[in-house]
């Protein structure tokens, strides 16, 4: 392809350019989203914290308990932080290209780089919030996650899954504005089904089989295995999740590449 950036110097040089660009984009995104003049980072902590306290209060007042004797506030907050990652990445997808047009004046920056930088940062930021929350629970309540590395691995998988969906939605946004209208609605409507507020073992067996077609439920189950270990039953299939991630990302990259030709800046 002679549409490439700098005169062709081989695959290695192209790869180094891409790494450099993604690094620069991530730094730029970091300062614009979490810089000192912007309180965006506060909400990253504020929203799950508010939700957690509200849910905790409701359960305390009603005296309601959860299946398996789980602590409701802990369960909801960890679920919500993971959902926050999924929702954050997907909701931004339809507007991501329009909001980054000035970057595309630089030929070395591709749509893929822009989206990857944003999604990586979102994933890292949410992982940081989770680490802080779990660290706080450990220090204050003495509650230690069974497998912290499994929690973080599941968050990385959620980030990659959402990134694949994001690529597809971003590519579609070049052709139609429909997704700008319906994506938020869709993420709210599907929220109860993602797995953020329930576990597979709460469902009757035949319903479990249907629910486990949903890849995000597997990711939430992985996180809960990381949090609770074997003290609660979890069901997940990592190759199934990885299959979804690879398929979504490959399709997303192909769609984005095809759509780029039609993008008017």
């Amino acid at each position: 392809m002679s549409d490439a950036t700098i005169p062709a110097e081989g695959l290695g040089a192209a790869f180094r350019t891409q790494l450099r660009v993604i690094g620069a984009l991530t730094l730029r995104e970091l300062s614009s989203r979490f810089g000192k003049e912007n309180l965006g980072y506060l909400w990253l902590f504020g929203e799950p914290a508010l939700l957690g306290s509200a849910i905790g209060a409701i359960h305390l007042i009603t005296g309601h308990t959860m299946p398996g004797g789980l602590d409701p506030a802990f369960f909801m907050v960890t679920g919500y932080i993971m959902f926050y990652l999924l929702r954050g990445v997907i909701n931004r997808a339809p507007g991501v290209i329009y909001g980054s047009q000035s970057l595309l004046y630089h030929r070395c920056i591709t749509l893929f780089d822009i989206i990857l930088a944003k999604d990586l940062l979102e994933t890292a930021a949410t992982m940081f919030v989770m680490a802080l929350f779990l660290g706080g629970c450990w220090l204050i309540l003495g509650k230690r996650p069974a497998h912290i590395e499994m929690v973080m691995w599941s968050m990385l998988l959620m980030g990659l899954f959402a990134h694949g969906v994001c690529l597809l939605l971003a590519a579609a946004s070049i052709y139609t504005e429909v997704f700008e209208r319906v994506t938020h609605l869709f993420t709210y409507l599907t929220m109860p089904f993602t797995g953020c507020f329930y576990m597979a073992f709460w469902l009757p067996t035949d319903l479990q089989r249907v629910a486990l077609w949903n890849p995000t439920l597997h990711i939430f189950e992985m996180m809960r295995y990381g949090l609770y270990g074997l003290s609660v039953p979890t069901q997940f299939d990592q190759p199934y999740v990885l299959g979804w991630i690879v398929a979504l990302n490959l399709l997303g990259m192909a769609a984005l590449r095809a759509a780029r030709r039609h993008l008017v800046i």
Binding site: S2, D3, A24, S32, L103, Y105, R107
Partner: protein, 215 residues
Amino acid sequence: MIRLHDVSKSYRTHLGQREVLRGLNATFAPGEKVGILGRNGAGKTTLLRVIAGVELPSTGRVERRMTVSWPLGFAGAMHYNMTGADNARFIARIYAKPVAETVDFVREFADLGAYFRLPVKTYSSGMIIRLGFALSLAVDFDCYLVDEAIAVGDSRFAARYHAALTERQARSALLLVSHIPDVVRSYCSSGAILDNGRLTRYDDLDEAIAIYQAA
């Protein structure tokens, strides 16, 4: 060198497909200063965008054998919520230039005073153009694509920019699109006319201007 191979560009509109560029073939050699003349709506800006790779041709291809700047003009290429200095840092990083030197150069050349530390959205349009040129000169491209804008910057800046480009005469090529023959004459040594989606090259700039003005 830059080579256009049968480059066409059309846009889908409510009135159907509009073909802006129709099968352009052209070669621009290193160091060449080409003024591309065309009326409003002739497709000058589209041509620069396609050469720069901001937009891709509908059919055909653009072959680049030298580094090519982004299209320099009124808008684009900068992040409006970031300061001039942060924009310089970002440009340095993506084009693999030393960050501190780039920031110094841009501060010096753009001459924005205290505004260099303020977000670009607070700039006047003249200041934005100055920043854009300074950023592009800091990267040091083999070929600069310029969209009229030179005529808009104030005369003091125009003179500095002219000097900076002249200094690079031997290695930097320039493709300047404009509808004003005088602007083209002061920067370029050969000409081309973009009309009805087709590009015609003239080795003699005066000939190009005469034909453009007669049409």
